[in-house]
Symmetry: C3
Subunit: 140 residues, 3 copies
């Protein structure tokens, strides 16, 4: 049984949803040494999220952004927390809607994702900057 933990810095992205599978995996080569296990990824921020979704068509990511702007509107009249701008409180809600953490099975040295699955960074601020992700691997 082995544990491996590291903090990965993702490069800054524009507001929206971004496929980050390759950028993350490149920084955790230890996955390849595990026959069975779990990878846990945890974003250490309250206005960005990690989720699993379609890895091929970029319009899926832009549709994600359009839908989230419809359902959690910038500057909605009922938000009181607005000192940091109209995108701030919606970003907090989106962070919890999609979630700060994901756990992915490891099988035969790779992530056991389905054919069409990839890891999305949800960047919910207009200017979020670099985001840190704590990656914890356990397995054997």
């Amino acid at each position: 049984m082995a544990w491996h933990q590291t903090i990965v810095q993702l490069r800054p992205r524009a507001r929206g949803f971004h496929l980050v599978t390759d950028e993350l995996l490149a920084q955790v080569p230890t996955v390849r040494s595990l026959r069975v296990g779990l990878a846990h990824l945890f974003i250490q921020h309250t206005s960005a999220s990690l989720t699993i979704n379609e890895n091929a068509d970029p319009t899926v990511r832009s549709d994600f952004e359009r839908w989230t702007r419809e359902v959690v509107p910038d500057g909605a009249r009922y938000f009181a927390h607005d000192a940091e701008g109209d995108d701030d409180m919606p970003a907090h809600i989106k962070a919890s809607l999609f979630g700060a953490g994901i756990t992915i099975p490891i099988r035969d040295g790779t992530l056991a994702l389905g054919t069409w699955q990839g890891i999305y960074l949800g960047e919910h601020r207009d200017h979020g900057g670099s985001r840190s992700v704590a990656v914890t691997l356990m397995g054997e």
Copy 2:
């Protein structure tokens, strides 16, 4: 410390939310051998989800489906990804809203669910077919 991993195929379901606790557990008898641990369930698709909710009244599941259709409407004007039909892009969003994975504590050889908790499959496509779930157990 023991690891156990298997891929479970769920039989096809109609669009909607379905209680699949028994179908899943029947295929992972190893749970019974663990005194303490975690069970991780991960659906390997981008248009279906796993979530925990009420295990008794079937109207809870039909109300889940009605609410998700209200909030993520089929064929919404702002979706660009529509080549596979009006249910496709909404299915991707619902997959991330409810999530691809759940982790459940194991205690004394069984899932430590609350009295009213069960495992839901969210089938978000009109014709989703069989779904595969990677089940990873770890414990002692």
Copy 3:
């Protein structure tokens, strides 16, 4: 490799979102003995949730409650499951939207949360009472 599992009872809260990091951590001192690991928290109910969000400004929590009431309205016309009151079916949906479980990395004897992250209890019933959370720690 060590496992530690306990059931924590949270004191009753009013409907809304509440910061419970300190109340939870006070009951799992074992975190301090782990150099690397994971903490899994699982609420054993179908009308309350756990999520990670902003730990400083209380208006973030009240804005969470306002937004969830907008998006999952009490007594919506399309809900059939209403025998227990107008807040019941919305509470089930919110429980799955935010989720029953969270996993947090452990690093050097403490939760590896970001500076602004805390653990929220989402209490989605008008009179939810005390809530039980199964806490599972694993690590070394």
